[in-house]
C-alpha cells in the first residue's frame, strides 16, 4: 500500500526547510565571494528569489485553510 500524501502543514514545513537552506547558502556565498566575482549577480538573483518566496509564505499558508 502506498503512503498517503503529506498533509498541507507538512508540505509547508518541508518547503520552509528547503527555503532556509537556499537562502542560508546564498547568504554565505554573498558574504564569502569576492566583491568583483563574475558570479555575484547570479547569486544575488538566487538570494532575491529566495526572499521573494519567503514573503509569499503567509499567502501560501492561507490557501491551506
Amino acid at each position: 500500500m502506498s503512503e498517503p500524501p503529506p498533509r498541507e502543514p507538512e508540505v509547508i514545513h518541508r518547503f520552509k526547510n528547503h527555503l532556509a537552506v537556499m537562502i542560508s547558502f546564498a547568504d554565505l556565498l554573498m558574504l564569502e565571494m569576492p566583491a568583483d566575482s563574475p558570479h555575484r549577480a547570479d547569486v544575488a538573483e538566487i538570494h532575491k528569489a529566495g526572499r521573494a518566496a519567503m514573503a509569499l509564505l503567509p499567502e501560501l499558508e492561507k490557501l491551506g485553510h
Binding site: 542560508s24 547558502f25 554565505l28
Partner: protein
C-alpha cells in the same frame, strides 16, 4: 578595547541534515563552535557525559522526541542552558506556551544568516553583535 569571551558552543539539533549544515556554516563563520545531533535522543546522549554546551538550537518537530520535550529534559539537567527554537511551526509552540521561559527564544524558518546570528547573539550576550571570542 572590547573584552573577549570564551568561544561559545552551540548544539544544533535538527532531523534535516541540510538544515544542520546551513546552521553550522553560518555559526562557524560567526566564530561559534558547533556540535550536531540528528534528533533529540542523540542530543540527550551527547550531553549525558558532561560535554559543555552554551546554547541549544532546537527544531521543534522531530521524530522520536519533540524539540520542546528534548529541551525540557536537557534544561532539567542544565538549568543554565539557553534554548533557541527554530521551526516552521512556531505558531504551534506559542499556542501551547504563549510565554517562553527565561533564556529561551524562537526563530521562524526559513531563517537567514543575519536572523540566525542575531538570535544566537541576543540569547547569549543580550546584543545583536557578539563580542570577540577567544579560540
Amino acid at each position: 578595547m572590547a573584552k573577549s569571551v570564551t568561544q561559545p558552543i552551540v548544539l544544533v539539533v535538527d532531523d534535516e541534515e541540510t538544515i544542520r549544515q546551513a546552521a553550522r556554516r553560518i555559526l562557524e563563520t560567526s566564530g561559534y563552535k558547533i556540535l550536531e545531533a540528528e534528533n533529540g535522543v542523540r542530543a540527550l546522549e551527547l550531553l549525558a557525559d558532561g560535554t559543555p554546551v552554551d546554547l541549544l538550537m532546537a527544531d521543534l518537530q522531530m521524530p522520536e522526541l519533540t524539540g520542546e520535550e528534548m529541551a525540557r529534559q536537557l534544561r532539567a539537567r542544565r538549568p543554565e542552558l539557553k534554548v533557541l527554537y527554530v521551526s516552521g511551526y512556531v505558531d504551534r509552540l506559542l499556542d501551547e506556551r504563549p510565554i517562553l521561559w527565561e533564556d529561551e527564544a524562537f526563530l521562524e524558518k526559513p531563517f537567514t544568516f543575519d536572523g540566525l546570528t542575531e538570535a544566537v547573539s541576543l540569547l547569549l550576550f543580550g546584543t545583536v553583535k557578539p563580542p570577540a571570542f577567544d579560540v
